[in-house]
Each structure stands twice: as structure tokens, then as C-alpha cells.
């Protein structure tokens, strides 16, 4: 068994350690739950799962990780089914969104409560309590531990993807500047999305979400300068983008497209792909992007999507047309800092400097994120 792990990990000490850990787990579980049908297979699966957890902590082992996970799924579909049941239970709509996020990170991705607390800048006690409460509700309300029935599948899969996307966004935003010590939950969310794709390979929206996350991560390095200041897409050094990762994400998106079931995640990934494919800002295909936003609005009408469409229109049709679109969203987005920041940009384009400054100040009032604040301050001065 150690040999099987050494072959993949290339590290004898680590392999031996994981086998020891698997044995320890067996000592804890078997007296309670009985000896499994195939004890050897159980041990190997457990040791492999521990290896996966280990490797995930070290991004440079990404290739080995894929190999190991592939093996896990291939020769143990029971293991795969088990994980899927676990994900759907952790993301059950009867749990609050924040409980879903914490529970999924803890139970499926294997993070500690301390890691989760750091990632979301909250106390360990808060996260621990959130998880305990969620587990108690699962037991007390008898939330079933199973993959949902066919008729509920679309809705429940959406719920899982929404949890992972929120997790990703919070992780992605939390990395804003500083704090290298903090775990990158965005990477964990992408890993979980990858897991969903392996477990449910025929779901195009899962592929779309994974592609979307990978496209963002591929460009993450270019988002900040050395001082931790946020760099806008148009000013980013595109040589720092991870071209290989972009290409592989686009392959995922193409695979999703062959299934002919479009959806919001695929469309958002397609928009991100448009940006990623442009070698320079000036080559961005704004026509295509506006068309994709139109399709997205049809499937998912939302003022934030309309705001993004307006931003794309600025480059296709000019600031005047974009501002007219933006002004229509005043009522819906008055407390959203990006609404005011966007409005300020457009007003400035049109030479309406005084109004632009007022809008910038309003935007500043509405965000606490240090990197975003710094950017707005710079524009004001």
C-alpha cells in the first residue's frame, strides 16, 4: 500500500506517514462502524484521500494531484458517490448560505476551522459555532444524506454552484493586497468546482463555473502591484497572465458548449474568456462581450449585470450611451459602490468633473475594502 502511494507522491516518508494516519483512522472508525467489506481498499482510499489533502496544500503538485484524484474516482465509485452525497448535504438549501460555505470547506475540502476563520477574517469561535449549528440542524431536522432525486437535481445543483461561487468571490476579494499567510479560499473553491466536474461530468454549468474560476485565477497575479495596489484590467501586464491556465479553461468551456445547455456560469465564463483572449486591452472584442451580456440578462436579469453591460457599451458605443444606461439603475444600485465608481468614470469621460468627484466620494463611502479604497482615493486626488 505504501508502494502505491510512493509511486504517485515520489516521497517515501510522506507515503508512510499517510498510511500510519489511515491506520489510526481505522482504529477509530472500525470498532464503531464495523470492519468494512474490503479493509485493504478502505485503508488505501483513506490514505489516498489524505494524500490529496496534503498535495492540495502545495500548488506546485497540481499535476500529481490530478493523477491521484483521477485514480480515486476511477477505482472507487463508492468514494465518489460518498463525496457527492456529502457536498449536496453541506449545500442543502435548508442551511444558511454562510453555514453552507463553512461546512463545505470543513467537511469536503478538509480545511480547519482556523483556516476558514482566517480566510473570512472572523474568529475561530464564530466559524466553529456556525459549523456546530449546521450539523445540529442536519441531525435534528433530518436533512437527508443523499444525492437529490432527478426532479430536484437542477435546483440543488444550482445551489451547490452558488455556494462555490460565493466562496470563490469572497476568497478572491479577501486576497486584496497583503496577508500572504492567509489561505486562498478561491483556490479551494476552484478545487471543489473541479471535484463537482469530475463527479458530474455531464453538467455544463459545473464546467462553466470551473472555467470561470480558472480564468479569474489565471489572471490573479496581475491584479496587484508590488505595493499591493489593485490594478484594473485595462492596466494589467498581460504577460503575467497564466496563458496555459487560460487555454485549459477555454477547453473546459468548449466542452460545456457541446452539451447545448447554456447557462449563466457558461456565459460569465465566456465573457471572462473574451477578456483573456485579447492580447492587449485595445483588442478586446466589445461587440461579442455586449452580446454575451444580453444573453446573460435574458437568463439572469439583474441590475448588476446591466451595470456590467453598460461598462462594455462604453467601449462599443461611447460614454454617453453607457451613462444613459447607468442612470437608469440609480434606484436599484444606489448603495453599490461600483455603481458610483462607474458613473464617476463616465462623467469624467464626458468632462463633467464636478459630478464625477461627487460620485467618487459616494463610492468611497460605500466600500471598506482597502485596495478598492486606495484606487478611488487616487482618482479623487
Amino acid at each position: 500500500m505504501t508502494a502505491a502511494l510512493v509511486r504517485i507522491l515520489g516521497d517515501f516518508d510522506l507515503a508512510e506517514e499517510l498510511v500510519q494516519e489511515a491506520l489510526l483512522e481505522a482504529i477509530q472508525h472500525w470498532p464503531k462502524e464495523g470492519i468494512p467489506e474490503k479493509p485493504g481498499a478502505w485503508l488505501l482510499t483513506t490514505a489516498r484521500r489524505k494524500a490529496v489533502d496534503q498535495l492540495r496544500r502545495q500548488a506546485r503538485f497540481r499535476n500529481k494531484l490530478a493523477q491521484l484524484e483521477g485514480e480515486l474516482m476511477r477505482d472507487d465509485t463508492a468514494e465518489g458517490d460518498d463525496r457527492l452525497r456529502l457536498i449536496f448535504t453541506c449545500c442543502h438549501p435548508a442551511l444558511s448560505r454562510e453555514a453552507q460555505v463553512a461546512l463545505t470547506l470543513r467537511a469536503v475540502a478538509g480545511l480547519t476551522t482556523i483556516e476558514i476563520a482566517r480566510a473570512f477574517i472572523t474568529s475561530e469561535a464564530t466559524i466553529a459555532q456556525r459549523i456546530v449549528r449546521a450539523k445540529r440542524k442536519i441531525v435534528d431536522a433530518n436533512i437527508p444524506y443523499r444525492v437529490p432525486a432527478e426532479r430536484d437535481m437542477a435546483e440543488r445543483l444550482n445551489e451547490v454552484l452558488a455556494v462555490l461561487y460565493l466562496m470563490f468571490n469572497e476568497g478572491y476579494l479577501a486576497t486584496a493586497g497583503e496577508q500572504a499567510s492567509r489561505r486562498d479560499v478561491a483556490e479551494d473553491a476552484a478545487w471543489l468546482a473541479g471535484l463537482m466536474v469530475r463527479l458530474m461530468p455531464d453538467e455544463p454549468e459545473a464546467l462553466g463555473l470551473l472555467a470561470l474560476m480558472r480564468l479569474h485565477l489565471a489572471r490573479a497575479r496581475a491584479r496587484f502591484d508590488d505595493a499591493g495596489n489593485l490594478i484594473l484590467l485595462q492596466d494589467q501586464d498581460r504577460d503575467r497572465w497564466d496563458r496555459e491556465r487560460i487555454t485549459s479553461a477555454i477547453v473546459l468551456l468548449q466542452r460545456a458548449a457541446t452539451m447545448h445547455r447554456s447557462g449563466p456560469y457558461q456565459l460569465q465564463a465566456a465573457i471572462a474568456a473574451c477578456h483573456s483572449e485579447a492580447r492587449i486591452w485595445a483588442e478586446t472584442d466589445w461587440r461579442q462581450i455586449v452580446a454575451l451580456y444580453d444573453a446573460l440578462l435574458e437568463q439572469m436579469p439583474s441590475p448588476v449585470v446591466e451595470l456590467n453591460r453598460a461598462i462594455a457599451r462604453r467601449y462599443r458605443d461611447g460614454a454617453g450611451a453607457a451613462l444613459a444606461d447607468v442612470e437608469r439603475l440609480t434606484e436599484a444600485l444606489d448603495t453599490y459602490y461600483l455603481f458610483h465608481a462607474t458613473r464617476a468614470e463616465l462623467l469624467r469621460d464626458l468632462g463633467r468633473e464636478l459630478e464625477a468627484r461627487a460620485a467618487l466620494r459616494r463610492a468611497l463611502e460605500l466600500t471598506a475594502n482597502p485596495a478598492e479604497r486606495a484606487l478611488l482615493q487616487k482618482r479623487l486626488s
Binding site: H92, A94, D140, A141, N142, I143, P144, P148, A149, D152
Partner: protein, 119 residues
């Protein structure tokens, strides 16, 4: 596993419901009756309640009971009735709640099972 479905409504709609002419109210009951037909085998108890204006609440001040007019739930919502249902798990109870036809909210609560003999 047993759950109670608490059928809620806004006070405003509850008043409209009461003010309906008899024939219209009967027609409005049709989808509710269909729901009970469909899930009848799972419904093991429950009642529709008289409107909120009939409610009397006993409140305790320093341990002393004080009788007052009206419900104890404050706000825009009111409970119109409840059903006790016996199903396998929360998903089945939620399926019933999602099919509830009045447009009012449904709160699903597991009951505490102390292993009392079934009646």
C-alpha cells in the same frame, strides 16, 4: 419522522379571505383540497384556525397570568393553520411545503419525538 407545517399568511390577505363571499371562498379552497388529496396519506393531524381576531393570549407578568385580546405573534404575518405530516426526511416535508397553493409562507419544523406510543 414527523414535522409540523405552519401555514402563514399576511394579515391583509387573511382579512380578504374572510371577507370573501361564500361561493368565491369555496372556489378558492379547491387547490387546498387538492393538496390534501395528494398528500393525504402523509398528513397525520392538523387544523385550519379561526381568524386572528378570535385569538386570546395569556401573558405572564412576574409569573402572574394576564389575559389579553389578540395573538402573540406581532408583525405583518399570521398563522392560518397547521398540519402534522409523517414523512421520511426534510426533503419530503419540503416537497409538500413547496406545493402549498395559497401563496403564503410555510414554516417546516420537526417535532420532538420522545418515543411516545403512536395513537
Amino acid at each position: 419522522m414527523k414535522y409540523v407545517l405552519l401555514f402563514g399568511d399576511t394579515k391583509e390577505r387573511a382579512r380578504q379571505w374572510e371577507a370573501m363571499p361564500e361561493a368565491q371562498r369555496e372556489a378558492a379552497y379547491a387547490p387546498i383540497n387538492q393538496w390534501f388529496e395528494k398528500y393525504g396519506k402523509n398528513v397525520t393531524g392538523g387544523h385550519e384556525l379561526q381568524p386572528e381576531r378570535t385569538a386570546t393570549t395569556v401573558k405572564f407578568t412576574n409569573g402572574k397570568p394576564v389575559v389579553t385580546d389578540g395573538p402573540f405573534i406581532e408583525g405583518k404575518e399570521t398563522i392560518g393553520g397547521y398540519a402534522e405530516v409523517t414523512v421520511a426526511d426534510l426533503d419530503e416535508a419540503l416537497e409538500m411545503a413547496k406545493a402549498w397553493p395559497t401563496g403564503g409562507p410555510v414554516e417546516v419544523r420537526p417535532i420532538i419525538d420522545r418515543g411516545e406510543p403512536q395513537r
